[in-house]
Symmetry: C2
Subunit: 454 residues, 2 copies
């Protein structure tokens, strides 16, 4: 296991220690089966985000469905000496039997209302916290960043080029999925194509050209072996000269029934170089050969390039996309909002200390739209209220079982695209975005005040 | 596989598509077995880093040792239609047979010299790029961030509390490992204890206290179930009042042969609250009960707290540690530096386009120290040179086999601690750090100039 791979049999151990010691305490006190409700929510938006795109639910539900402690995990827990045998026997039989309501993947989401609402016996609802948070938070982070990059790229496409800079191989895989939801056309990650069916794209590396030393020879060797229309990397020595060499290859490609799909620039003054390369390509009869750019790009650089008239058709974005460089985390929380008393009655609860006040009770978010379906505002209220708009959280799991197969990724991506197009003016701006109106219902406000008074 | 788990059988697919299409081209051209050398290096330091701590080598070597394309990966690759059967047959038999020299884990490292040097037939050396980069880059990023946080904490301890905010479950696991190397005393991540033997720590969540509603009852239930000396979270309602309630539990704990290990603060004005809580604890006879703090901490906040006299004995650091919040990526590269010509002679190569000039040739880094073992500077030179200082890269793999078992993590951690203590004055400062002197040997400079001239 030196790879840092997490085996299915150890999935239950991918958690914070306190989840297990609290579970033991609930068990020992005989209250493990009292029902509770938790909200998984994002507390606030990072400075440069006007909206978030919900992602990661499929992995979260798969985790809950398959959640269990396998014998080898129980053996390990026994060896730690932290847990009594009676509790370990109980853990061995434990499954997630609760309910989940959630905002589906691809919906836009605004803090601080619930993104997921989990209702289950307290021990189950608590023990899943860590895994659920990391799964939902990272994919939502990346889908939201990808949406910005894709917006900046306008009619040009964006490909996830991040695997080498993501926080480990699994982050690379989850990033590819979330970036696709956020609007990327695909990824360079082969595993993401295998596991999630995400379209994959690839070009060639500088090392390939350097290894051949002769650039034209390198282009020729790569193209001969490549099964389709190749994209050639032209900036290893001199970008404009590289474009000319790529042109020289066109007759050979045509003989084999192929064309030069694109050339890639990875360094230098991309605005200037892309214009020069476009001229060279057009003059050489390669008007339909695209220009693809990569190299430390983000949404701001892409916008500047396109505003400057750079004739770039596609962008490969790595580090800034896969780490959400300007905001590498979201302020996600998992908060108890109702719990059953000794008589089994579920009552709303609140955490009062300092500034981190939570919204109590089992909640829903209603979204209003105008006549042209443009979003106009959200209201966070209590389940059971009848508020204007459409409720965003829908039932996705009951009795520990997913209610439906996960939607197709391409459908989620299309939905996200439509949702982003329906944002109010200014909310999707890259800088100085408008604030989307989110309000709290009078009944929920009254409940907060009432719990404060007690 | 909806968990986003990467199965051993799919390890070879966790890569960029271009690694495979280039491999196919090398194979088709009949030059796959020509030797080449690549440097894995970090191009430069993030603004707030005076040094980096090397980490991730154990996982990198395990990957190289186990590298292969399993039948199910080959089946998938066949289905993509990208590759010829002859190449897939070749891939099925491909193993990594090369050499790796590397700076061992726990050494401090300064860009831009090689962190790893890989020499192998070009197809092998190229195809491993993506996985090696993500593995080494993320752990080095986190070990380096952890070192800063640990330095800021001085005599107080630091625990990795990041699993919920890391970029997915595997990032959480790798983070725990790297943070331990960087000086953390342990992690909240159970899986990291199981897989890597890293000490684990845990307290309790606000939800636990809220679920019981009565804080004292919650403390009692938790302590009864907890196998050792508990740490109680005292800020759910009122921190100072929470400290008093924790005190009330001491007689019961003593009866069972336990004591109150610590109280945890997770919100509010920690400087003020920690002083008040210390007074309450001392006045109540709990002089040896420690104060543990968490909640959006980073190295700067920790230093301010301790400089202000906060009596805090330990810190749990999550988001900022696990995502390296101020610098969530390192500018890592994997560059071809020598390759064999048609006669098999290995020659140094260089990439010239624009500003991204690389250092050619098979290189070594020599580190000089003064009489008291304090580091005084590094020189990047060519293998075969005799330069002042000790060479940093050592042989770790030959013929695809690790030369020794991976060192114990605790030994790596101790080594890192000693290395950081031997840094020149100012290099380890949190702000406005001094620049460590790194120079390039005259022979290497001459080689760069010679290759430029050609």
């Amino acid at each position: 296991m030196q790879h840092g791979l997490i085996a299915m049999e150890r999935l239950g151990l991918s958690t914070d220690l306190y989840e297990l010691t609290m579970a033991a305490a609930f068990h020992d006190a005989g209250i493990a089966d009292r029902y509770a409700t938790f909200d998984l929510a994002i507390r606030d938006l990072p400075p440069e985000r006007g909206f978030l795109v919900a992602a990661g639910l499929e992995q979260a539900l798969a985790y809950l469905r398959d959640f269990r402690f396998w014998p080898q995990a129980l053996d390990y827990l026994e060896r730690t000496g932290h847990f009594r045998q009676q509790f370990l026997d109980y853990l061995g039989a434990l499954r997630f039997t609760g309910s989940v309501d959630a905002i589906p993947e691809g919906h836009v989401y605004f803090p601080p209302g619930p993104l997921l609402r989990i209702r289950a016996p307290i021990i189950e609802a608590q023990i899943i916290e860590t895994y659920l948070l990391t799964t939902i938070t990272y994919q939502t982070l990346i889908a939201s960043k990808a949406a910005r990059v894709v917006l900046a790229a306008g009619n040009s496409t964006v490909v996830d080029f991040s695997p080498r800079r993501d926080h480990g191989p699994q982050a690379g895989l989850l990033c590819a999925r979330a970036a696709f939801i956020g609007g990327c056309v695909g990824t360079s990650n082969v595993l993401a194509n295998d596991m999630f069916g995400i379209p994959m794209f690839g070009t060639m590396a500088h090392s390939f050209v350097m290894f051949y030393r002769d650039e034209l020879e390198a282009f020729r060797a790569f193209s001969r072996s490549y099964p389709g229309d190749p994209t050639l990397l032209i900036d290893t020595y001199d970008t404009v000269e590289g474009a000319r060499k790529a042109l020289q290859l066109m007759p050979e490609l045509a003989e084999r029934g192929h064309r030069l799909a694109a050339v890639r620039l990875d360094s230098g003054d991309m605005l200037e170089l892309s214009k020069q390369v476009r001229e060279v390509l057009d003059a050489g009869g390669a008007e339909d050969t695209q220009i693809f750019a990569s190299g430390n790009l983000d949404e701001h650089k892409i916008r500047r390039l396109l505003q400057g008239g750079a004739p770039i058709d596609g962008f490969g974005v790595g580090t800034e996309l896969g780490t959400s460089g300007d905001a590498p985390s979201l302020n996600s929380t998992y908060k108890l909002v109702t719990c059953a008393d000794a008589q089994g009655a579920e009552v709303p609860v609140i955490k009062l200390a300092t500034s981190k006040v939570t919204l109590p009770g089992s909640k829903q978010i209603w979204r209003r739209r105008d006549a042209s379906s443009c979003m106009t505002g959200d209201t966070i209220g209590l389940v059971g209220e009848e508020l204007e708009g459409n409720p965003l959280l829908v039932p996705v799991m009951r009795d520990g079982k997913p209610l439906a197969p996960a939607p197709e990724l391409s459908a989620i991506r299309e939905h996200a695209r439509a949702e982003i197009a329906a944002l109010p003016t200014g909310v999707a701006e890259l800088d100085d975005h408008a604030t989307y109106p989110v309000q709290v219902s009078p009944r929920l406000q009254a409940l907060v005040q009432e719990l404060h008074r007690r």
